[in-house]
Symmetry: C2
Subunit: 430 residues, 2 copies
Amino acid sequence: MIFIKSTDTDFNENFQELLGRGKMDIAYVSSIVGGIIDEIKANKNKALFEHIAKFDNWTPKNDDDLKISQESMSKAYDNLDKALKDSLHLAYERIKLYHEKQKPKSWFDTEANGTILGQKVTPVDSAGLYIPGGKAAYPSSLLMNVIPAQVAGVENIVVCTPTPDNEPNELLLAACHLCGVDQVYKVGGASAIAAMAYGTQNIPKVDVVTGPGNIFVATAKKMVFGDVNIDMIAGPSEIGILADDSANPSHMAIDLLSQAEHDEMASSILITPSQKLADAVEKEIENWLQKLPREAIARKSIEERGAIIVTKDMDAAVSLMNEIAPEHLEVATMSPFELLPYIKHAGAIFLGHNTPEAIGDYVAGPNHTLPTGGTAKFYSPLGVEDFMKKSSIISFSSAAINEIGEECALIANTEGLTAHEQSVRVRLTK
Amino acid sequence: MIFIKSTDTDFNENFQELLGRGKMDIAYVSSIVGGIIDEIKANKNKALFEHIAKFDNWTPKNDDDLKISQESMSKAYDNLDKALKDSLHLAYERIKLYHEKQKPKSWFDTEANGTILGQKVTPVDSAGLYIPGGKAAYPSSLLMNVIPAQVAGVENIVVCTPTPDNEPNELLLAACHLCGVDQVYKVGGASAIAAMAYGTQNIPKVDVVTGPGNIFVATAKKMVFGDVNIDMIAGPSEIGILADDSANPSHMAIDLLSQAEHDEMASSILITPSQKLADAVEKEIENWLQKLPREAIARKSIEERGAIIVTKDMDAAVSLMNEIAPEHLEVATMSPFELLPYIKHAGAIFLGHNTPEAIGDYVAGPNHTLPTGGTAKFYSPLGVEDFMKKSSIISFSSAAINEIGEECALIANTEGLTAHEQSVRVRLTK
């Protein structure tokens, strides 16, 4: 963990290093991933079978064997402990409610001369959701990808997830049943992304591919982008916290560790004008670490990629945080909404002392798939709009084209496009 | 030009070939473009100077020489013919008005237990717009890229455009002045995309890169995607027309040719249930072709990539058009709005006999940067949202976290993430 002050002479150097967090060097996996994609495009399920044998240690008997049966999903759901089942239903309902509010509407406007202009918003026909599998299979990831696609109105939702040793994760199966997903394929990694982007004998080609994954999955998503749309290219998880003396040091420490426990590459950064808080949080981190089952991962992450930065005031803290543009940002201050106007870049903003980041991972409602590594400067959280697209609507009356057709024809002519010009002129009647 | 009937026995084969239109094989330029990007990242302006010498046939004297002076833009504007100046102002105002209507708003909602959930929408800090230059420099492209960025509220707008022989296109300069753009650099191709994505001595690194271009530009955009956001990967222009007997064959012919004149690779497809209309349009195309200054390009395009398809009824025509998902779609029928609900995929939809596609290229208001090659199945027109991004807003009260914290902690525990669990539990007071 590094402790730096924004007034240190070598601050900029240290801070620039922090900004480099989460940058993925995809160059070294590009040729491998490119090869995998080419194999799937050429040989479809035959290539999938080979990749599954190699990476997941089992061999499908036939095409149907790639698909998880609805019976096994329904059985996994029935086997859920009641409290967990209720909690997942609560999560499902709250996530659905939030995403329904974010659904864009078609709109149009009219002009007195008979013009109609607008935008028609429609769902994509089909979406492919990648959900990591095996031990790190998170049912919450399934909910967070399926629900926006369902709210968008996507007719055809396909899920791919790796099943090492042909042993599907029961929690994930249960979540599939809960969400009403029925096309789930036991395929992982770059192969799964290619299968959904280009289609195989029984995995349908989709229009949009979303979902988290390792560097191979991220690279494959970048490579198929253009042939399909994708949500974003995401890296290791991060949390940034802006806090003042009103914050509870123990809470700040466990919040930082809640990212650190994800992944040794995760980064957790506290920025505060309070030296007192900084010192107290450092102590609390050590106290908490010893109590965590995932201590080894969390310790490595916090030691190598954790940081506490003390600034001269809160303005300076906010300004640094905007440069970091963290995936998750907690604002643990006395009056957090006062800072909101000044926060420019963050995937999700958690305001106040009762809003730990983890509440947003599961049940709050907003999506937990968020831009990482500073890409919150230009990417948005996964949402309903990722599964929809727009068409411009233009309708001119005879009066309307007479009113502005001449200007249109002149610009077309100036650009040397006379067929454009003529296509307008033939409609002019005045 | 191919003439096919949807009832022909070999129809599917012919139609599949049509669907392959506009697919760009970027594999063969990838290594060249990758090399160009690496050079710009490593050597910045030094590499730019070399690329400009090679591709644009002049050598900048120094860094400042890359930038177009505001004086030259203002002079170009002053030199505009009055009618053209007024037409460009009309276009600017109408495009601005339309895009203002499309600007998304931040929103939030509250719950009785003190929860606040919402979404904050903010502009990106900086945008880089690529505008093709030389003879094919279109001032309309500048307007269509600059205005959505301005409406979004982007503070830092950078334009790159190639200037062969160091001779900027005067129309483009005038349009820059009209739009109030002041950072315009004489850099083209993949080099320009890389310069804006990674920054050089004087070209600022941006967050979003948009704009049309050839296959090198498109490939560069795909390669920098992830380090910056991009709008879409676009190919040759297209028009699809759905028409019935109420359509004027001469109008249909010139509308088809208005795409064909763009580019030999452009494609123009009429689908109609009327054999009579199909025959008449064919004759009118030949009549018009002989009158076009760009006859050679238009003829090659229409012969090699034009198509007239006759279907058994309008439903079949709409269904085929949805498979094509054209960039521009004209609906030239008696009651075009009756078909609107059934049109699923198109970049822009032009409804009725008085709405030629060209009106949307210049003055109607909606953006003319649209998804091509069937990508309207998942991409949207360029818009204000391409220059903005969202942050989720989450604020819980003590009552709120007490209400659903237990469920959250249980799911976190089930996923094996106990720091997540604890970060919620420490806030529970009931």
